[in-house]
Symmetry: C2
Subunit: 329 residues, 2 copies
Amino acid sequence: MSNQKIQIGIVGYGNLGKGVHKAIAQNSDMELVAVFTRREPSELAAGAEGIRFESITNAEAYKGKIDVMILCGGSATDLPEQTPFLASMFNTVDSFDTHAKIPEFFEAVDRAASENGTLSVISTGWDPGLFSLNRLLAEAILPEGKDYTFWGKGVSQGHSDAIRRVPGVKGGVQYTVPVQSVIDRIRSGETPEFTTREKHLRECYVVAEEGADEEQIRQTIVNMPNYFSDYDTTVTFITEEQLKSEHQGMPHGGFVIRSGVTGQGTKQLIEFGLKLESNPEFTASVLVAYARAAHRLSASGQTGAKTVFDIPFGLLSPKSAEELRRELL
Amino acid sequence: MSNQKIQIGIVGYGNLGKGVHKAIAQNSDMELVAVFTRREPSELAAGAEGIRFESITNAEAYKGKIDVMILCGGSATDLPEQTPFLASMFNTVDSFDTHAKIPEFFEAVDRAASENGTLSVISTGWDPGLFSLNRLLAEAILPEGKDYTFWGKGVSQGHSDAIRRVPGVKGGVQYTVPVQSVIDRIRSGETPEFTTREKHLRECYVVAEEGADEEQIRQTIVNMPNYFSDYDTTVTFITEEQLKSEHQGMPHGGFVIRSGVTGQGTKQLIEFGLKLESNPEFTASVLVAYARAAHRLSASGQTGAKTVFDIPFGLLSPKSAEELRRELL
């Protein structure tokens, strides 16, 4: 590790950006230079002492002063625009998570980064990210087999929003929950066919408006097409106080399990799992580890877009290759 | 993937070497050229049709005809000699697993490979190997935390041998078993201090000789220093038939769990686990995936010794980078 700390910029200061700020504090080889925002910088500064806030339009002034920009915007509209733009000036890391659009996103970022001699690690986090790594590893080791990804227990933002749009609903949250009996069957070595909906339940916690018909709300939710009608869905009515005290966290997690065979039908099982009290703080911690790798790859002369598949784990750790071999191999 | 299959040699034809042979059959981009042995090649050939056996002393004749040699000898005496020797002529992959001696082993292999323009991946398999990767990954993402490695349920060869040396014992096998209550505490977010012996039980299945004093055998085993005296050890007497029918497999597995915190004490848990019906067949499958990576790294001009920490997962898969991004990210 060199004496010079890795200079980090954060773009976006929602839950993920705040998580990155906290994660940098846990990594002594890194230093936060500034947080870039589309909002009015002075508004944010009021609530966060010791952080320098800058308008995103001012990012260019930091060229050469920031080793890696960690991009904390959303995948729908922010990152498709921000990553290629910022990759033209900085090394970047992001958590672009629209699986179907990764190939075109990769192309756009790769072009911007390659042309400008920077390096961008796209689609880190845990899915895509750590889960993808485990899908690849398990498939490469057990080519004859089947893999299963489970998500949860965790909050689904899209489904929570759908609940809140139901007439008579004041507030609510939806948890995606893996079906334990399905997990047990797979862990025992079975390789059944399951759709995502057969593998997951949907648990809804709902605050009704005064005088609203709870049974009607329940029926509207469980029969909602696309969101709930094809799932086993439970609706539990709670008070506004309970919603605030028991459902404000952002837990998540899940499993990637591959069940395969070697030789003559010898069963082999590989499983990777996460149990997270805070999804954004964990995702932020993954972004920060990959920022270290991005900095090192760039320093060694590499450019263009990279994914977690292209990066050796050794580059994620602040320890030297010798230390890693001695302590962790 | 090029049209030319990766040409593989196997050195050693015990359980691991046989596992590699089976694993190559599951990977259509690879081809077995020959198995090299210290035994009389014609003896082995009798029981294994379609395999070319060669004396290890004849390996040099295969220079240029084999892309990667997969070394399947033991870590105590075989590999410290064989890996540097063969690395002077071939790319190699091995599963050297004496953790304490990895640094000096790495140095010796690195010297041989660097001087001769070859590439050697050392200490693959699952521990060292996949478990090491997960220890590194989890520590890099959650720098504030603690990790726990559990082994089993699985056969310990050294402990099984120790049982069989007890007077009055005709045969026997020992399983190392993780303590479920300890695993449960860690999964629930506790980070207690545990020694290896507190985390594991030892289950012994013993066939007594006719007329032997079973209670005396039990006492000798459970009080045996170094092997059993500090562990919770159970001894179950079985018949020779039971030993043959129920205890001939080589199951193993285990877990690497890291329990860490982000932000202000937010608990985060990362877990990786294996449940293997055959330890040697699984280890062989890992060796074969790393042989693919060794071939590609060597083809791209890299030389010297590498570990799993140095190798991006993308190189383990027969799929192209584009396919991997589209299908698995």
